[in-house]
Symmetry: C2
Subunit: 453 residues, 2 copies
């Protein structure tokens, strides 16, 4: 891909109003590429550029701006131009845009949009976020069952320019109920005289408007689809979700899980653009919760103050021992959260995985216990046994908590990714402190008594 146009040259074409050259430039460059250049211009220049080229192409470029830029442009002075743009944009994208607009701005623009399109926007924006309804687009191609393949190809030609895809075409009855599906490939391969009803697939994989968007993504991935039809409660076709939308959903869902497991709640924002206040609010809650949870580990230590004063060397190994539990627990939680998210593991697998986790973490604990005993042997030989034993127990404790918590959250219909690394670390801290000093007090009881006297 070459980029024959650089932003300054483009700006000059806009300023001189050279429409012919602008159109030439637009045809030579992919809309996504062009959008990257144009987005960097001033709002006024962007609108002058967009109105200088054919409407369909300007919509193609506009739809490649990121949503924040789209909102900026829509909120500017060009109400009329924005209304025309809404009429041309893919139906799912314009619904997302209108949803993000300031209500006052939307109220000014929507009356300028053609009635049918306005109705469509209203419908698409009415579905709850995260559902198939909110994700779908209403610009799909349809056919009736009782026409021939030759006629259907004619109809596809007519529909093609305004539809999100014509590679999958849905067959509907007089009530707009979904009764079948043909691919453009099926139509090309069929005899022109055959009826659509005889060519179509009757078993159509579909989603309901209130299905979760992750379920929709899983279906498209499992069945290798380019699009999935969405029906309402009456079996009527109301939209389609296309594979490119689903890729965005999957990336966004992975990002959300990623952020959650790291103990933050930053969602749907480019980190570079995120403001201070947003970052502060996204990070503070878990950190504060964990400060107050750690009050318990502090109280645990206070309870064992005599032990610590008698054998101060116990404190040398405190960070290592409690963090090893936290680290092993974070590992287990991370593996489990991701396996639940991609569907490798289900709720019913808990018990068999628990047994496996028990053996794995016991082996890990013993290995690490031997490692730390080696270190303790040099520095503080009298506590070598409690340190080694504690390592085994804390790794086991942290791991079992870390692997079970995501299941427990799923069981209560909560997000398993809430089992974040910071949360597991704090739980492991409390457990680790109690385990360590209990074992040490018991093993060193003679020394402690001697010190007390």
């Amino acid at each position: 891909m070459t980029n024959p146009i650089l932003a300054p040259e483009l700006l000059e074409l806009i300023n001189t109003g050279d429409t012919a050259k602008l159109q030439e430039a637009v045809e030579a460059v992919h809309p996504a590429e062009m959008a990257d250049f144009v987005a960097a211009l001033d709002d006024g220049d962007v609108w002058r550029f967009l109105s200088a080229i054919p409407q369909q192409q300007s919509a193609g470029i506009f739809s490649h701006f990121d949503l924040d830029r789209q909102v900026q442009l829509a909120s500017g002075a060009n109400r009329q131009a924005m209304a025309r743009m809404l009429e041309e944009l893919p139906h799912d994208e314009r619904a997302d845009l209108v949803q993000r607009l300031d209500p006052q701005v939307a109220e000014q623009i929507l009356p300028l949009v053609a009635r049918a399109e306005r109705e469509d926007i209203r419908k698409l924006t009415s579905y709850a976020e995260g559902t198939a309804g909110a994700l779908m687009s209403s610009d799909y191609a349809t056919l009736r069952p009782d026409i021939t393949v030759a006629q259907s190809l004619e109809q596809v030609r007519v529909q093609a320019p305004t539809r999100e895809t014509v590679y999958y075409i849905y067959v509907v009855d007089g009530e707009h109920r979904l009764i079948g599906f043909v691919s453009l490939k099926d139509l090309i391969l069929a005899k022109p005289s055959q009826l659509v009803r005889d060519v179509m697939h009757q078993e159509v994989i579909s989603a309901k408007t209130d299905d979760d968007q992750e379920a929709v993504a899983h279906q498209i991935e499992k069945y290798d689809l380019l699009a999935l039809p969405v029906i309402n409660g009456d079996q009527r076709l109301v939209g389609i979700v296309t594979v490119d939308d689903v890729m965005d959903v999957q990336e966004a869902e992975a990002t959300t899980d990623f952020h959650k497991i790291g103990g933050t709640s930053l969602i749907g924002v480019n980190l570079k653009d995120a403001g201070l206040a947003l970052l502060y609010r996204a990070r503070l809650p878990w950190l504060l919760v964990l400060v107050f949870m750690n009050v318990f580990s502090g109280a645990g230590i206070a309870y064992f103050e005599d032990t610590i004063v008698a054998v101060a060397s116990l404190v040398f190994f405190l960070p290592l021992l409690i963090d090893s539990g936290g680290n092993a627990g974070s590992q287990a939680a991370t593996l489990m959260v991701r396996a639940l998210a991609v569907g490798d593991v289900r709720l019913r697998d808990w018990f068999s995985l628990l047994r496996k986790e028990f053996v794995t973490s016991l082996l890990l604990g013993v290995t690490m216990g031997l490692g730390v005993m080696l270190v303790a042997g040099f520095r503080a030989p009298q506590i070598i046994v409690p340190v080694g034993l504690t390592m085994v127990c804390t790794v086991l404790f942290g791991s079992l908590v870390g692997m079970s918590l995501p299941f427990l959250l799923t069981r209560f219909k909560l997000d398993p990714a809430t089992a974040s690394a910071p949360l597991i670390t704090s739980i492991a801290d409390i457990g680790g402190v109690l385990i360590y000093f209990s074992i040490a007090s018991w093993w060193l009881s003679d020394t402690i008594k001697a010190a007390g006297n």
Copy 2:
């Protein structure tokens, strides 16, 4: 989607050899669905089922088995049947399968495969893992530029049954160099008498065989493509990567990053199927590294033994203070690793993000410092100042390390996700211990001296 067939009934059809009913069943159910049922049968039954139905359909079902099951089936006794299967499978999938086979098994099967197909497998398996070459398929559709649209539709009909997709068709010259691209939609919309060369797009977005698979995924996502052509050093078309393959890549890459940031190295295995030894090996390395890194925090504490003995209440807040640094650091690292992975942030953004991180974490540290001073006020008022000050400093230290480490790793061409939660936790431990006891020794120097006398 209804499932009219259950595994036991299917088994009976196989055992009675009722080919007609089997074919009927296969036509009523999606191949992905059917694969779920069939995969659970014994190897022998699977092969009997697959040979009872038309070859193309049996390949469609086989290709929905997961790779491990495919390897099992290929490694069984049916060399001849497996060779026929390889001839029918999508070219990218069969290359992946052959790559995973035991070399001895592959040596026995490949000679039974038709010569042209064998050559194709050899070529596709020769590219390095993780590149466009290893991901691509060679069953793409092509056209010559100097035929009419009507003729091209004829050719598409001929090619359709054996190609991964005919929605994107690539135009090549006599040397098989990529010179253009048309979509099936373009062909349908064009006049039948037009020449392909006049209809085709000349600016084709393409990848090179050695491009990274993540870059390929980004291109397909950015340009909303159904497929991306892959060319070799001579501009010759050698394959295509389709959107469904890219979805799998993106999911796998996200999983790998997810596991890495949790401090494990489990790659490409379903957690449910992962054996004990594999899990142990995937988790032990980081845990052990961190055990030995924590020796330093232990040494730090030993250095301050006098301080601890003099003011034992300092230990109450040790887990909280060092873990707060680790938690804030894990948050920062997680945000940064994901932003680098999805391309929201680049290397050159480091300095501006560092400044933002400094202010954000300072605010977080102050808030948490006030929180912990509230707690310390009740339990140990004489150490309220060092505890609060330490909280601010450790949160700042952990955050700056956590956000910078992924950049540093990227700078040295290492994987940013290596900045795992356990690694950040350990670094924060060492820093936290030194900060805490340094501040405390200075603030409480009179008390410590008094205790020493």
